[in-house]
């Protein structure tokens, strides 16, 4: 049976879509609040983006152009399979170009290219409750949100400082939305937190296993928690991308061999490829040597997509912490 017509458009049945759509509207109306929803079993395991997939399936229409990224990359397994899934069940156009997409489903990155009004960013969220590792009981965390009791989170950040001399949280860095709800921005690197603040795009978050949907409307204040004497700051990299020489972007470390050879390249593959294809941008064969340092970087660091499939991504596995 290859007849895909046996499925409804975008896989989910209409009643499920209505239920998810209602949750999305409540999420938008209460920015940062986690709306419970009756998450369905999807044809992929929990942890592969079932929440994001259900949100995307509920909003997508035949005219949409979908982009899916996994840690910034369009060509990793998760991104490729989710893109193929929607190509099959919704027959929508897909793209890897950030600017051309109307819906971008993402696992743990916000594209480097600025988003515009009218775009929807759908996050796949493993653990939506920012207080969960501090208070395991749902009844308690719910009460804490109700009473706006977020002292525990500040204690956690303070303990970071006491132990490490700085706030050591680097991903899933808690934010306060519109001055009310503390929200987990999903395990994006804190590098991306400032991009959420007053973004022109609508940001939707789906957690399939945990059965929660939440949202940040456009032009909404998203402030990373910090202290006056320890202000929030993002990661910086002391070298540019080894492939496209981009600075002020989030870089992944790519191991090249087992002799310590490594290089730092853009995590956002679309951004990197665009820059390399653009003749006016300074290309970077030369820089790769200085940047990567290792002997292998000297052997032509040709931008090969195959390279992208291999790197162990920052953040992977940390989720299980």
């Amino acid at each position: 049976m290859t007849d895909i017509a046996t499925y409804n458009f975008a896989y989910l049945d209409e009643q499920t879509k209505r239920m998810i759509r209602r949750a999305i509207l409540k999420g938008i109306a209460i920015p940062g609040y986690q709306v419970p929803f009756a998450s369905r079993e999807m044809p992929m395991p929990y942890g592969w983006g079932t929440g994001g997939v259900q949100v995307t399936a509920s909003i997508i229409g035949p005219d949409d152009v979908l982009k899916v990224i996994d840690q910034g990359a369009d060509d990793t397994t998760n991104a490729v399979s989710i893109r193929a899934f929607f190509k099959k069940v919704a027959k929508v156009a897909v793209t890897t170009e950030t600017a051309k997409a109307t819906i971008i489903q993402t696992r743990h990155r916000i594209p480097e290219h600025p988003l515009n009004a009218g775009q929807v960013l759908v996050f796949q969220v493993p653990i939506p409750e920012p207080l969960r590792f501090l208070e395991p009981r749902e009844t308690e965390t719910r009460k804490m949100h109700a009473l706006e009791e977020y002292g525990l989170m500040h204690v956690k950040l303070y303990e970071d400082i006491a132990r490490h001399g700085r706030i050591a949280t680097t991903y899933a860095y808690p934010v306060k939305v519109e001055g009310r709800y503390v929200m987990d921005p999903s395990p994006t690197p804190k590098f991306d937190n400032p991009k959420m603040h007053r973004s022109p795009a609508l940001q939707l978050f789906g957690a399939g296993r945990e059965k929660r949907i939440y949202a940040v409307p456009p032009f909404t204040d998203v402030v990373s928690l910090d202290f006056e004497d320890h202000p929030f700051e993002v990661q910086t990299f002391d070298q540019p991308c080894a492939l496209c020489a981009a600075e002020n972007v989030y870089l992944d470390e790519v191991i090249l061999d087992d002799h310590g050879g490594h290089m730092f390249v853009c995590s956002d593959t679309d951004h990197c490829e665009k820059r390399r294809a653009d003749p006016s941008s300074p290309l970077s064969e030369g820089r790769a040597e200085g940047a990567g340092g290792g002997d292998l970087a000297a052997s032509p660091a040709t931008p090969s997509p195959a390279l992208r499939a291999a790197p162990p991504h920052d953040g992977e596995g940390k989720e299980a912490r």
Binding site: Q15, R18, I60, G61, L147, E178, L202, P218
Partner: protein
């Protein structure tokens, strides 16, 4: 007999795609309060329910969502039959039981705080009000600000509830509890989520 025929006709011609079209218009309007989203007449409900409000109901309501009808809609058996046939939604006995409220005559409606406001723990368990209005430009101007609005937005729906600005201020103060409003005008809609602040009332 005539009521029976009326209640069966006038649903979405293409339920899957029409519902998606209507939902995206509602979602965009909710995400950008004060913005007016076009919505072609996808449903033909019996009067006084309008095509826009009918499409909103069909795309969001089902047997999980009790609907409350205002007395003007309550009086029309054909409206009840149409909603019942196409959505399967039960009718709520009181405004406080309703997930959605359809209001044909907002100027004569009960106070906003009579509807379900949700709880502090579950503020999502509140009523979404669907107000039928003639248009969104010729009523008193409302200057809006809040999430979803870059600086300010203006909207001027006609026939709004009495003391609406004052009532809305109280609705804001209840945050995160509170009701959300979908304004359904012919061919278009706009939304006022509970986060939207109405700044001043212009003449």
């Amino acid at each position: 007999m005539e009521i029976a025929a009326q209640s069966i006709e006038g649903g979405f011609a293409d339920p899957v795609f029409n519902a998606q079209t209507a939902f995206r218009a509602i979602m965009d309007a909710m995400a950008r309060p004060g913005s007016v989203q076009a919505l072609p007449p996808l449903a033909q409900p019996p009067a006084p329910l309008s095509a826009t409000a009918g499409a909103v109901a069909l795309s969001l309501c089902d047997n999980d969502t009790p609907i409350w009808l205002d007395p003007w809609l309550q009086a029309e058996a054909s409206v009840k039959a149409w909603l019942g046939f196409h959505t399967g939604a039960p009718l709520a006995n009181t405004p406080a039981d309703a997930h959605f409220a359809l209001i044909a005559n907002p100027a004569g409606m009960a106070a906003l705080d009579g509807f379900s406001q949700g709880t502090q723990e579950y503020p999502d368990r509140s009523t979404t009000l669907i107000l039928l209005t003639d248009d969104l430009v010729s009523g008193p101007s409302l200057l809006l600000e809040g999430p979803g609005i870059e600086k300010t937005a203006t909207i001027a729906p006609t026939g709004m509830p009495r003391h609406f600005v004052e009532q809305w201020k109280q609705n804001n103060q209840r945050f995160p509890r509170g009701v959300d409003i979908i304004l359904a005008a012919p061919g278009k809609l706009a939304c006022l989520p509970r986060t939207t602040r109405i700044k001043t009332m212009e003449a």
